[in-house]
């Protein structure tokens, strides 16, 4: 059937074209060809391997199709010559691919070396994965969650570990991934050439909400970053407005056993005590000191600020939009009302935030307090 052969040919070419569309550098937030920084560029410089692979694939495909066309059985044809082999040909097509691969190996090894070189100068951030969120700590004592702020145009040294199971830190446009393993600390590096937002997510299966353990890296111009860095080191300011004050009280009673807010005081005006162990398997919950200065929350799954308060159907809202000034109140309230209904967790096993059965007025007060933690 000529159609069968043409179909196969068309299919092969179609696949090849399809494959090439994936290669284009586009605006997709986690595009591995994005190469927006020094390290991801090192990796992207090896992308010619994909082209080479496609070329080899096309050669094989063409050979098969040619054989199908030329040697299709014709009625009455004799038994073909019973060729058993051809040693020198076979040796050639054993050795030649080996040589090609040796050529590929050289830049591969060079890149491995460069990816693992500690930069002469870098800012260090401790990265800790736990079910199901990322913690980032800076040298000045600042601890934040879900959103990593870095200076654009500078190298950042990461020290990656985990508090429970294996996770993997991955921001594709800035570098390949590196696993976060409990009991080990892994050195890794990122750098963003330009200010902007870079998205990533946990890339090692870690249980129920593995899919919801996202990362947002915000690269700021150096001056902005320095200001951010200083502001984050300050403790939270005591609220003045009544609802927010009530919120602080509720926080000190219901939330402070897990969540640290540096500078928070209880109803009596005493600083909250954070020395007791956190009742979670991982031993930590997100630090909320400057919660409202972030653009995402709950494993970076939801935007903290929205475009339009009337955004319908919060479930479908795309978190990867630029920041906007309207607080995502509905989602924040839904989270406080019943955390596991928003992101699957196992609070009964002390993995994830429990449902505190807060009343609606308590939720309103807490939101008022959290919204003020800029």
């Amino acid at each position: 059937m000529m159609t069968a052969r043409r179909l196969k040919l068309a299919g092969a070419l179609g696949l090849g074209l399809l494959a090439l569309t994936g290669c284009s550098n586009n605006d997709n937030p986690q595009d591995t060809f994005g190469a927006d920084g020094h390290y991801s560029k090192l990796i992207a410089d090896l992308n010619w391997v994909y082209i080479a692979a496609i070329v080899v694939g096309v050669i094989v495909g063409v050979a098969v199709i040619l054989a199908l066309i030329k040697f299709r059985e014709r009625p009455g044809a004799p038994v073909p010559k019973q060729v058993h082999g051809h040693t020198s040909l076979e040796l050639t097509w054993t050795i030649l691919p080996a040589l090609v691969l040796a050529v590929v190996a050289v830049p591969t090894i060079a890149t491995i070396v460069k990816l693992n070189e500690k930069p002469k100068q870098c800012m260090t951030i401790q990265v800790v994965g736990q079910q199901w969120w990322w913690e980032f700590s800076y040298n000045n004592g600042v601890t934040t969650a879900n959103e990593m702020v870095i200076p654009a145009g500078e190298e950042v040294c990461l020290k990656i570990t985990s508090r429970d199971v294996i996770h993997s830190f991955w921001v594709p446009r800035l570098n390949g991934k590196k696993d976060a393993v409990p009991g080990r600390v892994h050195d890794w590096y990122i750098a963003a050439d330009n200010p902007g937002d870079y998205w990533g997510q946990c890339a090692e299966f870690c249980g129920l909400s593995h899919a919801n353990m996202r990362i947002r890296v915000r690269a700021l111009p150096k001056a902005d970053f320095d200001k951010w860095y200083q502001d984050q080191a300050k403790p939270a300011t005591t609220p003045t407005e009544a609802a927010a004050l009530r919120g602080e009280n509720i926080y000190s009673q219901q939330c402070a056993s897990c969540h640290v807010i540096k500078g928070a005081v209880d109803a009596a005006g005493n600083p909250v005590d954070f020395s007791k162990p956190v009742p979670l398997v991982s031993g930590a919950a997100p630090n909320l000191t400057h919660f409202a200065s972030r653009s995402v929350f709950a494993g970076a799954t939801f935007p903290l600020y929205l475009d339009d308060p009337a955004t319908p159907d919060i479930d479908e809202s795309d978190p990867y939009t630029a920041e906007h000034p309207i607080l995502n109140r509905p989602r924040l309230e839904a989270w406080l009302r019943n955390p596991s209904a928003n992101v699957p967790m196992v609070p009964d096993d002390e993995r994830g935030m429990p449902n505190l059965h807060l009343s609606e007025s308590q939720i309103d007060d807490l939101v008022a307090y959290l919204a003020g933690l800029k």
């Binding site: 986690q30 097509w93 090894i109």
Partner: protein, 651 residues
């Protein structure tokens, strides 16, 4: 050969005559009905049981896949919960690898190795039966989690510490761990059996370099199994002790390194993938020559490359761990070894094309699947080479790009190879042909379906879609391709359905011809289906492709090959052996096998059952060992049997 000569009736040590067997029960005799299947030691019946079980689990794994694709057809799918999704992808991978590809390989190997080497059965027929029963009990046990509190949910790779009871408290992972220990015992026993069979029971004249390539590849697979299964069994025991008896092998708080599990798992896991693919490579190496009317191009190179893949497969395992925190030297070394394992595989692909080149190609369904394998495996193999470039792999690993890679090599490779085998060998096994018309639909639906399903995964993987995620966010660029993939999955399902219909309706299809494909190897030099004793006379082998050379001769004038004999004439001339004795059926294999799941239940629920199960295993082993080697009065095990001067195999 593993046969001993025995005169007359069974002689007892005390010199007395054999009046009563030593075993408590007499040896079963059934030749028909369900009892004949439960007690069979015939490699062909065992193979059919493996095949039916494997296809059942193929459908189970396929349904799990369809549910996954339904969930992922939209970004924030609500088809299944996150918990159920994690169970589904864990069980899909586990089922497809351990309960489909391995046993369907076992089915083909069990059926055809004895026939291809000219033997009457395998070296240890009862052990063969035990392997099947242990497998099916292990397979069922593994799946019990679905009904008893939740299936395993830690991924088929089951990384620690997520696999511990702290993070996965249901018994699902226990059913998984113990089920795989049991199926591992089955496969290890089977491997020993087939190695001895191939090395010791070949027909006269069948030198090792005259064996069909399918048998050669199977031999390499058995060696891989023998060495790889103990590694995962150790890992599974460590995990089982951690989960059930308080051990801390993988607990970082106790000083353990979680990477220990990864090393053990992948030391098994990488040879495992060659275990999965080599039988299909063997099948294709049989099918292509038959339907090209030419011998396999470069038989020695193909054989040696198979052995090379077997060896080199041990040196690449940490390419599954490039992002896990290995140092750059380890990463570099494994990067290089992984690149070079592409060489022997490439040799095969080229030699297969060279087999077709200059041939006379008959595009039967079997041939289409074989050619499909060449195309699809090449794609999967090339994406594998891109994985070897470890910096690139740091982007690719744990994304859908990897999912694309292994589905191209497993579906487009292993599964296409097995389907080529189905269509090729169906008339041999069942005496009926599968419909070629339905077969073409089967092939095209599967080919188009798999490319629609797994092709776009290359793209979304490189666009940043990670694996093992029950949902993905909109606005990432994944939406459209995921819909395409889900549609493709249902097209594959249609293709499988067509195959099942084809299989069922084949009973009514035209009655068999002796040699429907004008084949080349020994298994075709007998009736279809073969008699229980396989060959009326064990042939003497003079060359590779013995059957072909008995039918065809070189015309002295032109040098061309002309057919000088038809198949029935070749069979006639083989004659018949005078004395044929076959191993007797036995129920001890299923009895021993049954003790294993009881023991496993005991580990999970009640330690008393461990003792019960162990006693059943040990007691049945005793019965097995003491069972008389043969029923001296047995008249007909499917053929003429003369009771004196018998050749008795250690059954």
């Amino acid at each position: 050969m593993a046969l001993i000569e025995r005169k007359g009736q069974l002689e007892l040590g005390d010199g007395g005559d054999r009046a009563e067997p030593i075993g408590v029960f007499t040896r079963p005799m059934a030749e028909t009905g369900w009892r004949s299947w439960v007690t069979t030691v015939d490699h062909k019946k065992i193979a059919i049981m493996y095949g039916v079980s494997a296809i059942f689990f193929f459908v189970v794994g396929g349904i799990e896949a369809l549910l996954i694709r339904l969930q992922l057809a939209q970004p924030n799918g609500k088809v299944v919960s996150a918990q159920l999704y994690n169970e589904l992808f864990t069980m899909h991978g586990t089922t497809m690898i351990f309960l489909f590809v391995i046993p369907i390989g076992a089915a083909f190997m069990n059926y055809f190795i004895p026939l291809q080497v000219g033997a009457r059965d395998v070296a240890f027929p009862r052990l063969n039966a035990f392997s099947f029963w242990a497998f099916i009990f292990g397979a069922i046990f593994l799946n019990l989690g679905w009904f008893l509190g939740g299936a395993a949910d830690g991924g088929w790779f089951m990384y620690a510490p997520n696999s511990g009871t702290l993070f996965s408290p249901s018994h699902g992972i226990d059913f998984w761990t113990l089920g795989l220990i049991i199926t591992g015992i089955a496969s290890t026993a089977g491997a020993v059996n087939l190695i001895v069979t191939v090395l010791n029971m070949r027909a006269p004249g069948m030198k090792i370099m005259r064996m069909p390539v399918f048998t050669w590849m199977s031999l390499v697979v058995q060696f891989l199994l023998v060495f790889a299964l103990p590694v995962i069994t150790v890992a599974l025991f460590l995990l089982m002790f951690q989960r059930n008896f308080g051990a801390t092998f993988f607990n970082p708080d106790a000083g353990a390194d979680p990477l220990l599990w990864q090393h053990l798992f992948w030391l098994f896991g990488h040879p495992e993938v060659y275990i999965l693919i080599l039988p299909a490579f063997g099948i294709v190496s049989e099918v292509l020559p038959v339907f090209s009317k030419k011998p396999l191009f470069g038989y020695p190179f193909v054989v040696f490359s198979g052995a090379a893949i077997g060896f080199m497969g041990w040196g690449v395992w940490a390419h599954h761990m490039f992002a896990s925190g290995l140092g750059p030297i380890s990463v570099a070394v494994f990067s290089i070894t992984t690149m070079f394992i592409a060489v022997p595989t490439g040799v095969k692909i080229i030699n297969w094309i060279a087999t077709m080149w200059g041939g006379r190609l008959r595009l039967t369904t079997s041939m289409l699947f074989a050619i499909g394998l060449i195309g699809m495996f090449t794609i999967g193999g090339l994406s594998g080479v891109t994985h070897a470039v470890s910096p690139a792999d740091l982007q690719q690993t744990d994304t859908y790009y990897v999912v694309a890679h292994f589905h191209y090599v497993l579906f487009g490779g292993a599964i296409f190879g097995f389907f080529a085998g189905f269509y090729y060998w169906w008339p041999k096994v069942f005496g009926r042909m599968l419909s070629e018309r339905l077969g073409k639909w089967n092939f095209w639906l599967m080919l188009i379906g798999m490319n629609l399903t797994f092709g776009p995964m290359h793209i979304v993987g490189l666009q940043g879609q990670p694996r093992r995620t029950y949902r993905y966010a909109p606005g990432m660029g994944f939406d459209m391709w995921n819909k395409v993939e889900s549609v493709g999955a249902f097209i594959i399902a249609l293709g499988v359905l067509v195959f099942l219909i084809n299989a069922i309706q084949s009973r009514k299809h035209k009655a068999y011809e002796l040699d429907p494909w004008d084949a080349r190897t020994l298994e075709w030099m007998t009736t279809s289906p073969p008699q229980p004793h396989n060959f009326d006379a064990i042939p003497t082998v003079h060359t590779l492709d013995e059957f072909f050379h008995r039918k065809y001769d070189e015309d002295p004038a032109t040098g061309a090959m002309i057919k000088v004999k038809e198949a029935d004439q070749v069979l006639e001339e083989m004659g018949r052996d005078e004395h044929i004795h076959m191993p007797s059926p036995s129920y001890w294999p299923i009895a021993v096998a049954f003790g294993l799941p009881i023991l496993a239940f005991g580990v999970i629920y009640s330690h008393i059952l461990i003792v019960v199960g162990a006693l059943m295993v040990l007691g049945s082993l005793y019965g097995w060992a003491m069972e008389p080697a043969t029923e001296p009065d047995s008249g007909g095990h499917g053929g003429d049997v003369a009771p004196s001067t018998e050749l008795v195999s250690h059954g």
